[in-house]
Subunit: 345 residues, 4 copies
């Protein structure tokens, strides 16, 4: 860490600062120039509050040289993390496709979707039981019953299940859930992250709508600091001025996260765009950018008028996408679609 | 609500849609033009999922005409909401200044700050006990002990206290807290909002970094839908591309929120800017824009080198600001600074 | 176009508005509901100022149903536009790679780069002669001499040249330039666009940093309205809060622009990211998303310390990327890399 | 300027870099640590391309310590710049109100508005002759005739006139214009800025929709580098995700620009918000934040239905605003509304 001091820095304040820094266990290197005075800090600065330092009268600016995350940092863990979820490997060249409906509506629905997406090649089943909704008057999901429905679908198909948690209190209900999802709105719900860090459950952490990659990795660090290293990162679009899409998929986040961290990186093109029609090209772009998997909304209700949500593919569209995904993966030797064998059931 | 249908809308799908809408208890007005077919919906559309409708094959676009929030809506409650917190009125012409340190550090510190800000004219005391921190390695606050320290300061000065809650689980610890703050990162922690809606505690709800005014009011609606109408809105800056300030204070949010809603609107210039030097001009701008109060960080540790955080004023700076606030309020006849009488202690 | 009127709309104002609309040559359909009055407009609304209507006292909101762009609109021109630049086809399945240095530095340099990128498979040569620089003190490019250097490189290699124009005044200098680039900062320099619309030159129009897709297409429309239909669109990243990359590549813009318009769509991963290391994955993502080509910065100065700019690939890196591009295109049957034959020289 | 080098920096590259830096006339201070090597640069770094340095293999990051702008920098010119426009002083405590219609429509209209706003206390007249419009099919302004109409209004009222230029070519038409406005879309039209730098005309420079304060000041620097120090800065809102307002007024820009620069700082609440109703509170907020003036759209066509644009005040609303502006200024001793005496005509 490097501190640039203001020109008018008082000697007394400077002395106080240096003393305080030394008390934090840091080596302090002072270099006074004619125009500028710079303090270099060597040691473990991860607990130093950079905002506090920036706020000091005598400090002009602060530059962090090393990243504040450690467990999530590829520098300290060069090899890819590979998770094992019910025998299915995630990361390190194992490509996964998580598919399923936005909300779990009924046992029949989720089983039907599960069978359908499995047939097309999906490796994990998603479905919302607890639904974060902007309006208190909108349907909030089937909650614990929704989880039971997902478990039925797992029993029927063997596909491990992924579903979202919304608060610490409902954690006991997630005991049989294979991967617990933390939604974008909860990416900085630090109490929830800490609690999940105490478990050893695989966590699918979605990037917040207004969060930088650095903050995203710091939230992963919250979980990992508790001892749970089973974290999957998921880019799902950020909020920008553009209104053609619901959010803006930050495709550059994929290669950067892979570079900064050893954790698996997934992309959710359905939430990123909100437009079913462009989910396939964005899915292929995610593979091309280096993603370890994609997470796609698939709905399945061909009889009713309200079958297809704006961002959900129907089974036929999903099957077509999976053909393209498989073709695409043939030219990337570093990743292979995970195969679900019938015996795994 | 108005639906614009696509040109190629199939009769069968249209029939299904109209039937479904009628089942939701809505009056459906269909007008077929040569080029366009439009459906007008009359009735209570607050529970309708606009995203679902947008996603339908046959729907080109959807326009909500009335706001999806009701309890928070000025249209249905033209008069300003006025809260009463330990005898101090908030909203409806009663101007308040919430002041105090970012973190509660010790009983001595918080009492000293409380005395100092009260003397300058602050009407409520703030201080962080539970601290949301980007890094898991940073100090997370004194937590329950911090609340005790705040209560000591209240006993000493009579100033009601405001402090942030971070999860549902710690709600019992907030029984004696006068105003519970929900931070920007938890603005869409819906489970927390619902739980707070079950209490009758005054809630200071901060706008999320990437949330629109509409979403902000919907989060207030979550609390109010539970029966708790004691909600205070606080604009504290949004995330933009500009890096000179920590966030961008959306000053236009003040008159707009006052127009859309009857709830009191406060401004937090400290978090919005992150720069102590511009907290005074932004505070005055907030008054000029029509705010019902401001929330300002004040630190008080003149002996130590690390006394003043980047965004905190010291007591002398705060006192000077309060002189200007008082002068400023003299020209606005619609608002008056709440007076704290010694007897209230 | 649909206008939603305010509840309190005065009869006289309404009558005035309807009359005015009819005078614009529009069919006016008024439907008065118990709660809402809606005006539907049929006819050519492209010249109607939507902001003006929004601003009327009696108008609550306005919804444009048809796009305001016509010449650029795929609805009216379903077939892909295919440009022919010195025998090289662009768009309509003809995939192109524009490569070259950020700035043209010398005749030797540009010839060397041109030869090198041509050997690797590039189909067009780019190089900055006029350089838009944030600082007036930074090197502003070799200007007219830079264009001469590019023409030398064209003579040597046969590669058509692409270079940026910065103002109307220098248009005569671009007579021999094959494709004139309009940079992001000039995307709404309407006087320049109009002037370029008067020529029949192929124009590579880059998206502005803060411009929506709709505005982007409206700028293309400016050129096309003058009679010049030789427009190529180029997505090059938008400005967001994320600071890991220089801009945020809006990959979803690619399939959306292809859907909205018949014009060729290119992607510039170098300017979008500002990081050479992630230019290859972003290039492949662009192909996967459906782009008609990419535009890549390649520098070539292996002897000097300052050879590689943050976002430029060196020739070896570019050659490796081109191998991947070719491999990638084998699985997309809708697009084929344009081949440069030696005879074309 | 400080460069942080990568760990694996090769000696040869380091040597090349240091040599190159010395050739730029800089003092180079190398400090090698166990973990990090840092290069400090002393001297005139304003012409150094920071992006180029960031792009070097061996450089991890670069921190600019001093600002790249000089002429616009308050550090080198502590005193406020005061412009004199036909006897009216701008900046340095002289508060100005620029008012007038969005577009000049006719001589009668502009004279009527001019008389009206002058009566209410406006000190300068604005009106668009050349109009930057998103659509090529929208009215582009009366152009040279519009300037003539403005000059008529000046003759009639004595109010100096402000109008926008859109390209270098029309500069000769602006000879009699008192203040030339550069619009947000042209803030980085560097060729135009250079040309304006060659004149000695007062320039009202508006901030670009996606430009940082630093870029804004660099654009001012472009004009000043040519010798024209008559620059007025105008904050007019930036583009963010919020859609309630047309743009987001960055009120914090006002005190920051005043701190960074000695140039006068104005605020345009009309374009920033696009909503007439909140123009008054935003105007007052601008004064409270320290602005040297405001620029307000006022329309004047009470007979016609289409009289008031979304963001324009009518004369009565403007007159009311001016009463509040005057009241507001009474409590700020550092600024005083400029008085227009009849003799000045």
């Amino acid at each position: 860490m490097v501190l640039i001091l203001r020109k008018n820095a008082e000697e007394k304040q400077l002395k106080n600062l240096i003393e305080w820094l030394k008390n934090q266990g840091l080596d302090v290197h002072l270099s006074k120039g004619r125009y500028q005075t710079i303090i270099g800090l060597i040691g473990d600065v991860s607990a130093i509050d950079i905002e506090l330092l920036k706020g000091l009268n005598i400090v002009e600016s602060v530059m962090r040289i090393s990243e504040p995350y450690k467990n999530a940092n590829r520098k300290f863990h060069p090899d890819d993390t590979v998770l094992d979820v019910c025998g299915i490997k995630i990361g390190g060249g194992h490509f996964n496709v998580i598919a399923g409906p936005c909300s779990v509506e009924s046992t029949e629905q989720i089983i039907e979707v599960a069978k359908s997406v499995k047939k097309s090649g999906a490796t994990l089943l998603r479905g919302g039981a607890f639904k974060p909704r902007t309006s208190p008057y909108a349907f909030q999901g089937h909650r614990e019953k929704g989880i039971q429905m997902l478990l039925e679908a797992k029993k029927e198909t063997g596909l491990p299940i992924v579903t979202e948690i919304m608060d610490v209190g409902s954690l006991p209900l997630f005991e049989d859930v294979d991967i617990i999802q933390v939604g974008a709105r909860n990416m900085q719900n630090f109490e929830l992250l800490k609690e999940l860090g105490m478990t050893r459950k695989p966590i699918l952490l979605k990037r917040g709508l207004a969060n930088t990659l650095n903050e995203f990795l710091m939230s992963a660090e919250y979980i990992m600091a508790g001892g749970n290293s089973n974290v999957i990162l998921c880019e799902r679009g950020i909020r920008t001025f553009e209104t053609s899409t619901r959010n803006t998929l930050d495709i550059a986040a994929v290669p950067l996260l892979k570079q900064y961290s050893h954790l698996p990186v997934l992309v959710d093109p359905s939430h990123a765009s909100g437009i079913a029609q462009i989910v396939p090209p964005l899915s292929l772009a995610a593979i091309a950018a280096g993603a370890d998997g994609i997470m796609v909304e698939v709905h399945n209700d061909p009889e009713k008028a309200l079958s297809d949500g704006a961002q959900s593919l129907n089974p036929a569209q999903f099957d077509e996408l999976m053909q393209d995904v498989k073709k695409m993966l043939t030219i990337f030797t570093d990743r292979k679609l995970v195969e679900i064998r019938e015996e795994e059931r």
